[in-house]
Symmetry: C2
Subunit: 237 residues, 2 copies
């Protein structure tokens, strides 16, 4: 169960007033979901704000034609429901489905309560503001990448952001969830993903086996991936 010190350790809440934190502690409920379980279905009305403590969560909608669109994939320190927290009117509500891609821990706060807190505690709402701007910057990068990077480069970019640069070569990492999901998230078909990843490997001295990836020459990968981007590596996250 999230306690006061836990909330203070979260960047999003760290600057909130003492009383806000006490109130959050009182209202928060934590939950555990096994891989595959739904945290929220697209038919369900959403009345809680969700904060991911550990794990990976898929946020998806459907197009008119029934195709799945992966809007976002949340992981620790990400959250969902800020639209409802700060919205006065309720138009354009999202109706996305949230599903656990791995075993997942979250906590929730009731939206009306959190809404009151943010209205009364400027420091809390400033925290949200900053995190939302960071998310916005990330989305801007995604738009950029979809416009000018090819499939291999987009995959390479994800790999670079998963990599711990400090490690000495080869840098090893694990894909946190299925390639099929990652492919859809990157706006491509699984088949394309598979081929593009293969191309990336021979082109940039990267090795894949299952969900394990080994980078043998970081600079080579950075050169290939980041040349068609306005940011310079490292560009977390």
């Amino acid at each position: 169960m999230p306690n006061r010190h836990f909330f203070q350790s979260i960047a999003l809440f760290s600057k909130a007033s003492e009383s806000s934190i006490v109130e959050c502690e009182r209202l928060a409920k934590d939950h555990f979901y096994k891989k595959g379980e739904f945290l929220l279905r697209s038919t369900q009305e959403q009345n809680v704000f969700l904060y991911v403590i550990r794990g990976w969560v898929k946020v998806a909608k459907e197009s008119g034609e029934g195709e799945e669109i992966i809007v976002d994939v949340l992981t620790q320190q990400d959250y969902y429901g800020e639209q409802q927290v700060f919205q006065t009117d309720n138009i354009g509500a999202d109706l996305a489905a949230l599903q656990a891609l791995t075993d997942t821990y979250i906590f929730t706060l009731p939206i009306p309560s959190l809404k009151k807190l943010t209205y009364s505690d400027p420091a809390l709402s400033l925290g949200f503001m900053q995190h939302n701007l960071a998310k916005q910057a990330q989305m801007a990068m995604e738009i950029e990448h979809l416009s000018i990077q090819n499939a291999s480069q987009r995959i390479g970019c994800v790999i670079l952001r998963l990599a711990e640069v400090k490690q000495s070569h080869p840098i090893a990492l694990h894909l946190p969830y299925d390639k099929t999901i990652l492919a859809t998230r990157l706006g491509m078909r699984p088949e394309t993903f598979s081929r593009a990843l293969a191309k990336l490997c021979e082109h940039c001295d990267v090795e894949v086996s299952g969900d394990t990836i080994r980078i043998y020459d970081l600079n080579r990968l950075v050169d290939y991936v980041c040349s068609h981007c306005s940011k310079t590596f490292p560009c977390y996250k």
Copy 2:
């Protein structure tokens, strides 16, 4: 020169406290730019917040390879610089170039002053919060479109959002700026834009001559464009 009543009429500022508005009135400077002029170059440090009163403004960056990336196109009620207003650290600063695509009126506020105001006036920062969330929703839609719509559909979507639905058929409208710019904004080449627009015309009973577009059958256009989108028309903006 923007006066108090002007600020109160702007949704972004309308809920701010009396004293904030007086302060804004004192600090704001308005500017006019002719088509083609730069409001901000990518080499310039940005020390003002910009609010567009009228006109269209291109926000662009460059990739490592020198390609232009049109990050955003601002028009009335849009603004630029909120990152700097709410950011504590200064990492990941953007360095975009802003250029007038038409004759343009804006006003500016010094970032440090606005920063102070938002920290002291919760109502003002909540206004920013709400507008930013709206922008975020729009960006999410863009990402969606880049993943699942083809070139013709993306163009059709822009046209639909420019159309005044109330009009009786044919619905006429003007493209507000060059097709080349619009093409780049939509993540495609001008040649592709030209062909895709032609395809849209014969497919959906739309007519183009120069920058004028006439829609003869709105439903047909909506059917074609919006089937591969999670939103339902009308979905302004």
